[in-house]
């Protein structure tokens, strides 16, 4: 198994996202601020990548650069072997604040990115994706009638509606309560297994990163740098109370709380 993975790695064309030596600066109060420093990340087709880091470590910026919403000047960013110059239909994105348009019914929100399609086909796609996220029957509701979890489901449906090969998720469950969040994590895994979409999720929830990720990218803040990319054994990481899960957790925790073991111990008991 391990060997097979390595073989794919050697062939550059099999990477759906390729980031090399990416640097990004923002100008804040006329001072350049380094947001991303020398980011190198290769993502294989069908992989689920989670990126963890403090808020403000540039992980959201990295995601937006991948999908073409934010420009970059220094480095290589490729999607499907082509340099990223802007958003494309094959790359969907889900935001933390679901960003459903309040004036559109759920079906029109989900179908928002479906352009130039015959009406029937469009409706069929919307129906299929609403069913996939468990929102059948809410076609004609407005976003304000949905709970936070349901809104996020609708946002995921919108992200998937035009069958992207990549779905980027920017802390999609960050605003949800703990129980809904666990539910949503299970569903996003199910969807990923069904659709085989490559997913990249930014999160600040370490448990979420371990549970979902095939690989976990650990980032530090100011400048945003990749500290480590952890390969995850899914058999271990899907058991939230298992020893393997706890070991991954300790490994990631040590990056963020190098000098405060006390704080860590409390969390560790879960």
């Amino acid at each position: 198994m391990k060997e097979a993975k390595d073989e794919i790695r050697e062939n550059d064309n099999s990477y759906i996202i390729n980031v090399e030596h990416l640097n990004k600066q923002f100008i804040v109060d006329k001072q350049p601020m380094e947001v991303l420093h020398d980011i190198n990340l290769k993502i294989k087709k069908g992989e689920f990548i989670t990126i963890v880091g403090h808020s403000g470590c540039g992980k959201s910026t990295l995601l937006k650069i991948m999908c073409g919403l934010v420009d970059y000047e220094d480095g290589i960013v490729e999607r499907n072997g082509h340099a990223v110059v802007g958003p494309g239909p094959k790359c969907g994105m889900v935001f933390q604040d679901h960003r459903l348009l309040p004036w559109l019914k759920i079906k029109d929100n989900v179908g928002f990115g479906l352009k130039n399609l015959p009406k029937q086909e469009r409706e069929e796609k919307v129906r299929k994706h609403l069913e996939m996220v468990g929102l059948k029957g809410f076609e004609n509701s407005y976003p304000s009638q949905l709970s936070g979890g349901m809104s996020q489901r609708a946002a995921i449906a919108r992200g998937l509606a035009n069958n992207p090969t990549i779905l980027l998720l920017d802390e999609p469950f960050g605003a949800l309560d703990a129980l809904t969040r666990i539910q949503m994590q299970k569903e996003i895994l199910r969807i990923q297994e069904e659709e085989k979409t490559t997913m990249v999720m930014v999160t600040h929830d370490i448990d979420e990163a371990i549970y979902l990720g095939d690989r976990i990218v650990v980032m530090s803040a100011r400048p945003g740098e990749i500290k480590e990319i952890i390969e995850v054994d899914k058999a271990e990481s899907r058991k939230r109370s298992g020893a393997g899960f706890a070991a991954y957790k300790k490994r990631i925790y040590d990056y963020f709380f190098e000098d405060s073991d006390v704080e860590y111990d409390v969390e560790y008991v879960i």
Binding site: F112, S144, Q145
Partner: protein, 268 residues
């Protein structure tokens, strides 16, 4: 806002009674003044006199004619203002250079009271239809423009990013994101603009006109017909309220999602 259901009926009655308290006091004072003081009837007519004049003006068709003339002027000026106001308001809201070009001069012009425009407009356009329409446009256009601009400008960046993500054209982004977001605010502008138009037309007719409800008032004043003046004032008030209510109903139908949002808010 009251949220519970049961006291709603009582609340409605209370609302009506409270709204009528002050008109009732005014009528009492009016009655007292005409019955027990020596104010001449040419200055303050009795209530029955005003009522009689009202009925006469209704019957003779004069009032209908006056109102229709004034309203048709309002409609002309208002439609022009709405189209121009929404157009320029959207441009200013979406394009920074347009904003920098237009906003300073608009801010200055808006400081001039509507009445102060009338002498110049009459000099340029005479006392015919054109001058009324121009004055209405001067009032309503800016109200609609400013509100449109603020609605467009306050569109959350996140929504615009979604449009960018799905590569919507500039026009589509406008019709699907900016405009719907601005609609409630535009409606506020349209509502204020309609009220302003009505006031402007009455004022313009008072000063320079040969027809319309404002003209009727000014000619009645010169004939010392205070009853006609009062009837006209009441009619101006009623027409204004009716137009405001009417436009409110139309706008509620145009923004169905807001009804849902408001209901949710009440439930919470």
């Amino acid at each position: 806002m009251k949220t519970d259901r049961t006291p709603k009926i009582g609340f409605g009655i209370r609302k009506i009674i409270l709204a009528l308290v002050i008109p009732f006091i005014i009528v009492l004072i009016w009655l007292y003044a005409t019955m027990y003081t020596s104010i001449p009837h040419g200055i303050l007519p009795t209530i029955p006199e005003v009522g009689q004049t009202f009925v006469e003006m209704l019957k003779s068709g004069q009032m209908k004619e006056d109102i229709l003339i004034s309203i048709s002027r309002v409609l002309k000026g208002y439609l022009i203002s709405a189209v121009l106001g929404i157009f320029f308001g959207s441009l200013i809201g979406m394009y920074q250079p347009v904003k920098e070009l237009l906003v300073p001069i608009i801010t200055v012009i808006r400081q001039i009271p509507m009445i102060a425009w009338i002498p110049l407009i009459v000099l340029w356009c005479g006392i015919g239809e054109t001058s009324k329409v121009v004055i209405i446009v001067l009032v309503a256009f800016f109200q609609i423009l400013v509100n449109t601009q603020s609605g467009i400008e306050s569109t959350p960046k996140g929504y615009i990013e979604v449009a960018k993500l799905y590569k919507l054209s500039r026009w589509k982004t406008f019709t699907k994101v900016y405009l719907p977001h601005a609609v409630p605010q535009i409606l506020v502008g349209l509502r204020l603009g309609l009220g302003g138009s009505w006031m402007a037309v009455v004022a313009a007719e008072l000063i320079a006109a040969t027809s319309g409800i404002g003209y009727r008032m000014s000619s009645a004043r010169s004939n010392m017909q205070s009853d006609v003046v009062i009837v006209c004032m009441i009619v101006v008030g009623i027409v204004g309220v009716l137009m405001d209510k009417g436009i409110g109903v139309i706008f509620a139908a145009l923004t169905p999602w807001r009804k849902v949002e408001n209901e949710n808010r009440k439930e919470e």
